[in-house]
Amino acid sequence: MTAAALLSVRGLVKRFPGVTALQGVDFEVRAGEVHCLLGQNGAGKSTLIKVLSGAHRPDEGEISWRGEVVSFGNPTAAMRSGVAAIYQELDLVAGLSVADNVFLGHELSTAGFTRRAQQRRRTRALLDRLGHPDIAPDRDVGRLSVAHQQVVSMARALSLDGQLLIMDEPSAVLDPDEVRVLFGIIRELTAQGVAVVYISHRLAEIREIGDRVTVLKDGRTVATGLSARETKTSELIGLMTGRVLNNVFPQRKPVDPAAPEVLVVRGLADGDRFAGVDLTVHAGEVVGLAGLVGSGRSEILETVYGARKAAEGTVEVDGRKLRRGSVGAAVRAGLGLCPEERKSQGLLLDQAVYRNITVSSMSSFARFGFLDDRAERARSTKLTETLDVRPAGVDRVVRGLSGGNQQKVVLARWLLRECRVLLLDEPTRGVDVGARSEIYELIRELADSGVAVVVVSSDVEEVLGLSDRVLVVREGRVVHDGPADEIDESRVLDLVMEGHAA
């Protein structure tokens, strides 16, 4: 622990028109360590990464790299010095080969002609070093799994002798077993002296892989150099939020056995990803679907909602059968979906909050097709106040809100419709700890008011903590259906992984 700092950051300030995103960030990273950055959404983590990797220039403060004050003009300059960032939305070009992506922007060339064979060889060596001899350098990147794409991004980062890798929530798009592989790679890299700045919302991961922790809040460093393993969870959360959180999951109420069956799915199949799915949800019940990415859980949800066409089976709401493959029919029958990809599937990012909330209930604000803007704003304002969407203001553009607040906007849309069945796909992905517990509470309140809720999540703890009943999905089949308090995390993982586990 006496190694000299590889990277040290002092008094970093970054202003954008109208706002100061960073206002005094200090921390240092040593060679060979995994340094975790913690902070709520909006704490400035993304801006910090962009400044470190040369995508933004800081307004004040200094960055020292291997003992020298540096100023990276652009990401390529940073990469040439050995600092590379791997963003959550991987910056790979689909259609190009793995090797082409690894050397994109710094191709090996002679007189303008790329040296393809040499690029392939070097890529091969990098992928071997990352423990992935199974990825062929000639493959089209677009055809790789997300986990493998991430490996390619890492190879790209290392292709210019990377000494510091910055990883922005790498585990968010991975399955538990893929996360384990990723951690193996990180451990090998750090053993070779590479430093990793690791960003994640999942404290359990930070405990497992991290060495030291820096906590950011409101663009400032509030603590740095904490031990990743020994610092108490309550202390970390307290630093991040400025308040103390204990029990994250809200208290369940026993579901009334006489409660009516609101959603009844029988023998649902899409002819491809899943088959024979039965699912019954009572009023006031939260049913969780656990399963790996690609197990068919999201597809089941989308098919129930009519966004994908069912090949077989029926979906009934309050005893009435829904027309297959019609979102309109599902919404009219009282279904609502908070999709997995909030930004690309859930929101009109460049439009005002209130328009995102009323988009599914427009007709109730219209007379002869003419909209009552004022009523829309008033109802939306009430809802956003109830849900504590921050910052307030229904005329704000949704793009500017943090993940948690964006999720609340999507929830508000279905609250406004007073839907009977709410389908939630990864409701807390990219949502920070504080907002996460608020969303859990909201889901529970909705259920208590008689809504039937179905939750899909990769986070087993979340499924168990939130649900009354848990269904485990593996390879398109429901392999378990039972009360949440009669099953534990390791049993769920066993069921999820059966046949997968190496």
């Binding site: 993304s46 979102v327 859930g346 439009q351 993940g403």
Partner: protein, 341 residues
């Protein structure tokens, strides 16, 4: 993912309203500000006209001529604003205008019109235009043909059909009442200009005050999110192209009235003029943002430019160069503003 929001946290602290901005950048960034930029451009053009052509430009008759010329392409551009805001594009508008004008002025149609009422001509043009738009919409929404390709095909087919029907001859209109109605003026304003004003006002209301308009923004901004929110995106897309087709039919009627002819060569390059007017007006070519007022200014700017150049005996070619320059400058300015806000 969730964190281009450092901004938000900081704003929370400063307690400053984020949407309302002060100063020049705020003004230019707002809708009113964008239009202010267009007004300034139009005023500069007019000053240019007065300086170079004097009384010949600043003459009431000349100004009415500008408006009459603007009216036809203006009606098409208002329809185009809807399609582009909804995330689409239509290259076939000029061809639809030609086909509508020809179909509405065949001897057969004129014969019926003479025996009944001149409104038959108007009706025919609207039906032909609307039907063409419907075909485009169905091809794009349900046939899943890319809009660019589908309407490129319509462009070729519609103009070809217009040539077949007219036998490549110019068809003179000889229906009493028709010309009289459209040549008239209301309180000194030509009927064509009145029609344009009504279409623009109606378009503004439709886009900004109705569920149809709101759905258009949603469908153009994020079609997948719109679909998952329960909007029937495909049906709405069909409506958008049909609406534009109807606008083309109406524009054909106005063109027939102005020239007293129907011809397969009518509406040449209207697609480019309309798209250019929509884009310099501030409507986003990628969809999700659109402004009718901007489009109207865009049309007026191009028409005034043509007029000033013509009065100064400058060639059509010189006009084309100036048009191109205006488009580039307008788009560059918009990008600057978009980045700042």
């Amino acid at each position: 993912m969730s964190e281009d929001t450092a901004a938000v946290a900081a704003q929370k602290r400063e307690r400053s309203p984020a949407v309302r901005q002060s100063g020049a950048s705020g003004l230019l960034g707002s809708a009113a500000g964008r239009n202010a930029g267009l007004v300034v451009a139009l005023v500069l053009l007019c000053i240019g006209g007065v300086v170079t052509a004097g009384d010949r430009f600043a003459d009431v008759d000349n100004l009415l001529t500008i408006l009459r010329l603007a009216a036809v392409i203006g009606v098409v551009s208002v329809g185009m604003t809807f399609v582009i805001t909804g995330g689409g594009i239509d290259l076939s508008v000029g061809a639809i205008v030609a086909l509508s004008s020809v179909w509405a002025t065949t001897l057969a149609t004129q014969g019926i019109a003479n025996n009944t009422h001149w409104i038959v001509i108007v009706f025919t043009a609207l039906v032909v235009g609307g039907a063409c738009g419907l075909v485009n919409g169905v091809l794009i929404a349900y046939g899943r043909v890319v809009a660019f390709i589908a309407t490129l095909a319509s462009l070729a087919a519609a103009r070809g059909l217009a040539e077949i029907i007219s036998n490549r001859k110019t068809q003179i209109v000889n229906v009493p009442g028709f010309a009289a109605f459209f040549d008239a003026s209301v309180l000194g304003v030509p009927v064509l200009v009145v029609i344009f004003a009504l279409v623009a006002a109606g378009g503004w209301v439709l886009l900004n005050r109705t569920t149809f308009g709101r759905r258009t923004f949603a469908v153009g901004g994020n079609p997948e999110a719109a679909r998952l929110a329960g909007i029937d995106v495909r049906r709405h897309t069909v409506w958008l192209y049909t609406l534009l087709g109807l606008c083309c039919g109406l524009a054909a009627v106005m063109l027939v009235a102005r020239t007293t002819t129907g011809s397969a060569t009518h509406g040449g390059l209207y697609e480019l003029d309309a798209i250019a007017a929509v884009v310099i007006g501030g409507t986003l070519l990628t969809g999700g943002r659109g402004t009718i007022a901007g489009t109207v200014f865009g049309v007026l700017i191009f028409t005034t430019l043509s007029n000033v150049f013509t009065l100064n005996n400058l060639s059509i070619s010189a006009q084309a160069v100036a048009k191109g320059a205006i488009i580039v400058v307008a788009v560059l300015l918009q990008q600057r503003l978009a980045r700042r806000t």
